[in-house]
Symmetry: C2
Subunit: 170 residues, 2 copies
DNA sequence: TGTTGATTGACAGTATACTGACGATCTAGG
DNA sequence: CCTAGATCGTCAGTATACTGTCAATCAACA
């Protein structure tokens, strides 16, 4: 019985690895989200962006990327798509010509209200196979882990810091 | 205190949602993996593919996609990149002209042996912020959840079924 | 005030993911 | 034997992600 020698090079080791389980669960989560929300033609990322802009009207793209933890580079095209659907509008900031401020349009606010029940269903379905107590345990541990690992991936600002200049809307 | 009326439309609700935590954790996991393995120029997906081919030599692309749970469409380009790095070779199957069988090359086996310690470090780092008991709990719940949700995302075959025709190598 | 350094949004390049479609091929049924 | 349906690899199209770079702009300091 080898106690700690070289681990076996087998796919079974991968199945039990955290990285594999996180990737797989993310796939499943997106799939469930898309299924519940297919009537609305919004991706999880686009949904998160809408919510964040609703919470912080007038936020700029860089701060938005910190608030929902995704890449500045990617965010541009996400916003473009939301603009094309007429859910978001961009206004130049008067005091800083570099910045474009983001606001929800009326249709943007409307779709948000409509989609929320579907999103709630999706979130519930992701955890449905677990017993209620286990769901709570899992979410608690995931929250801790994401929080404590926050600096591990490129997020230029912590969400709280990102909002210092805004009026703390919300 | 409203008990269960319409939920608030706020970004804070998103932060506690399973979908957000899974997406964020996946980002973090990839980031840690790439950091630990940067000397090897292999992505998590490419690593999983190498391991799976090593475990099941002569597997074809469709079955491989089931074994590591990713999309058939995407797999083509992943294999191409592994082929370009001379880690994988593809041989036409004699009895079925549609199929191309996958094998690791000598450099493929070698890089696998070399990268494994780095991968182990990455996997450990992902869970490091948690107490040991909590790590175990989290992995147990994630395994359950992924397993029970397996059909939720498009995986054409369960891994076990996918391997019926192979000699159950491993 | 004038230049340095930081910030913003944009872009190019690479790598996953997923949908839907396609031709080539195999297999079963008639 | 020959056609209908399934399967294999591939490709086009869309959407995330991340690295690195760039011009325009701003802020701060000498």
């Amino acid at each position: 019985m080898p106690s700690k020698a070289s681990p076996p090079i087998t796919i079974d080791a991968v199945y039990a690895a955290p990285g594999y389980l996180f990737r797989r669960m993310q796939q499943i989560a997106v799939s469930i989200f898309m299924e519940e929300c297919k009537a609305f033609d919004l991706t999880p990322v686009q949904y998160a962006a809408l919510i964040a802009i609703h919470t912080h009207p007038g936020i700029d793209a860089t701060r938005l990327s910190a608030v929902i933890a995704f890449d500045r580079s990617t965010l541009g095209s996400v916003i473009e798509r939301l603009q094309a659907k007429d859910y978001v509008e961009r206004k130049p900031a008067p005091e800083d010509k570099r910045i474009k401020l983001l606001y929800l349009t009326k249709p943007g606010v409307a779709i948000l209200r409509e989609i929320i029940p579907a999103v709630e269903r999706a979130q519930a379905r992701m955890l449905e196979p677990l017993k209620p107590a286990d769901r709570k345990t899992l979410m608690g541990l995931m929250s801790q882990l994401v929080d404590l690992n926050n600096e591990a991936s490129r997020v230029p600002l912590r969400a709280e810091d990102a909002l210092e200049h805004l009026g703390k809307t919300g």
